[in-house]
């Protein structure tokens, strides 16, 4: 099988939730097109064989994650960081808050298990990454695109473009409503209904699968191309401008809401959340050409 590595791919799962792997299994069409050579979730194998593409999901949380990652990338021609955890640490990065780290590490040091690193790190702090596939998790269609099977894949510029809900000029809520209100009008923009939806500034390609059934976008695909190499402040300003034109919600209220943990787990994708040059956690800004 080594004579046709272009059709072979492997999946390395670091510390995460396996949601990315489940999404890949949902995209079953690759079964006839590609050879899956390594993926511990569904294959019993000890080592990553030589492959064309290595998909890496999960963050670098333990010393064992780091070791496995470094070994695996040597066997691959192309390394793809899949999902929010591999790209920015994802939901596990919430554990990087200082006050959480203290209780967390004190607890963890008691065990005879893989050692926890000081922070949960994106994989490009440790190895070179050729392509980023953001999403929590990426949709099956995105997996098919990254594997080169869905060749005509065309993402919308942002989630709004793919959503199709109508923006109204004359329906201006004066306060945010919580995510848990349960009643959502069909076909009308969630911002008009007072929901904190950030789809206007978030990378398209997911086909707006949350907003269409009525849940506000929490930004799991990260910043759209316009914002990818900027700091999070530019992104937040853009969202505030959209709310300024569609709502009468006071800016202070919006400011406070935008700092919610639910959005924070995806904010880590911005350049200002990267550590400084020279530190072990440093990562370069992500060039948009490498993002799918």
């Amino acid at each position: 099988m080594d004579n046709r590595p272009s059709e072979r791919f492997a999946v390395l799962q670091l510390s995460g939730c396996a949601g990315c792997e489940v999404a890949l299994l949902n995209a079953g069409e690759w079964v006839d097109e590609r050879e899956l050579a390594y993926m511990p979730l569904v294959i019993s194998a000890y080592d990553v064989p030589p492959v064309n593409t290595l998909l890496v999901s999960g963050g670098v949380r333990t010393d064992e994650d780091l070791h496995k990652l470094r070994l695996a990338v040597r066997r691959a021609r192309r390394v793809v960081a899949v999902g929010t955890c591999a790209i920015s640490g994802g939901v596990a990065s919430l554990g990087n808050r200082d006050e959480v780290r203290e209780i967390f590490l004190a607890e963890a040091e008691r065990r005879h298990v893989p050692r926890l690193l000081p922070r949960c790190r994106p994989i490009d702090t440790a190895v070179e990454v050729d392509c980023y596939l953001p999403g929590c998790p990426p949709t099956p269609e995105l997996f098919m695109a990254v594997l080169g099977i869905a060749t005509g894949f065309q993402p919308g510029r942002n989630v709004c473009r793919e959503c199709g809900r109508k923006k109204l000029r004359d329906m201006k809520p004066s306060h945010l409503v919580g995510f848990q209100r349960g009643e959502v009008l069909p076909d009308i923009c969630l911002i008009n209904q007072g929901y904190l939806c950030v789809g206007s500034s978030v990378r398209g390609g997911c086909r707006a699968l949350c907003t269409r059934p009525g849940h506000p976008c929490v930004g799991c695909r990260g910043p759209s191309d316009v914002f990818i190499d900027k700091e999070s402040e530019a992104w937040l300003d853009s969202i505030k401008r959209v709310f300024g034109s569609l709502t009468d919600i006071p800016e202070e209220e919006l400011d406070a809401a935008l700092r919610s943990p639910q959005l924070a787990m995806f904010l880590f994708q911005f350049t200002d959340y990267a550590q400084e040059h020279g530190t072990a956690e440093y990562r370069p800004p992500r060039p948009k050409e490498k993002l799918l």
């Binding site: 510390s15 949902n26 079953g28 006839d32 294959i43 019993s44 298990v113 069909p186 059934p213 849940h215």
Partner: protein
Amino acid sequence: MPTLTFPLSRIEGHAQVVIEVHGGEVVSAHFEAMEIRGFRYFVQGVPAEQMPVIVPRVCGVCSTAHHVASVEALEDAYGVTPPPLANTIRELLMLGQIIQNQATSVFLFTMPDRLGTPSLFQPKEGAASEQDRAVLATRALKVRKAGTDLISLTGGQFIHPVKATVGGVTSGVPSGAAADMRQQIVDALPVACELFDMYWEMSMALRDRIGTWGDDAPAYYITATADTCPNYDGHPGDDVIRVLSPDGEDCDRFAARDFRDVLTFEETDYSYAGRTSYRDEAIRANSLARINMTRSMGTPRAEAYLNRFRDAFGHPAHAILLFDLGRGIELVYALERALEILEQPLDDEETAVPHVPQDGEGYGLVEAPRGPLIHHYRIEDDAIIDAEFIIPTVHNTKAIERALRVAARRYISADRIDMELEHAVGRVVRAFDPCIACATQ
């Protein structure tokens, strides 16, 4: 003292089994969970209403169960009861999860053990078997996809659902979409039955080859499903966890909020997951518990499989590998039950009731694919100040380790270690279908 370490695959997450041997005697068998992300710590301070979107990320395999348990914990804290249609749609959502999970466990995780291959996706030598396996994989994924699509339809997102909200669900299921889903399940059901029949035969052949179904002693069983049929709608109000004794007697029932009075939790220094016990004994949750603790499956094809199961293995059944057959029966049940529900109107009534957030304490209980799952939150100023996740895999840890000791003793003697042990370790662990991401969070 020699130590044998077995890395595990075809389970969710990172774990290994470590067996210590001294002079041919098995001293211990540890099931070691090797990852942790720290959910119970970093959700402290999170606005309570965001929990149903954050906690599905505990696990991409069991995300639906966490989503619903989280919503139910908040409903308990706020004193709100969702309307009947919302419960029906949540039941569909949970059935989608059962279909997806049991298809994954039966076909992708454990069928390779019966075929003697590392994976359903990897061809073995010989063109014929390669082709056969490709067909198997394609058909298995078709069944699994029915579950995934049911989750997408009723949960709004295909992995981390968003549609259950405090007081109900965000929308019903339009009749056109319900009819399409129904047709997809009608097509998937015979495929599932055919694959499961093959799986049953393969399991009998495996038993003949290795000479055992996994012969650990009887254990206690727990489930949150009803004693009449394996319901997944989690009626708020009469949510209880039941306990069955090793000799088949109903010996306990308790509400989620009383779990500390009944279950004992302990930490170990070799794993990021702890383990629970009942009266100091091992407990088993998951498929075999539900199968042992229901009078009937309530749907025709699943009922026929249950009768066949009871005729062959008795009631209650205790052998380890019977967990796997139980999962196949539940797969058929979930497909049939989803068909029944999809025939009803699902968008003609209110799907949510209003509520007022308030501080306090709430418990959410659902029967997840691996057993009873409890979320417990304490809320102050609309923020989480404490969260507990009571995880089914943790209930099973002690039972897994006990079964591993039995398997190890079977294959380890003073003068040799039978290499079948490695396969046996994999089979025992997979029978419990543990989820490490959940167990450690």
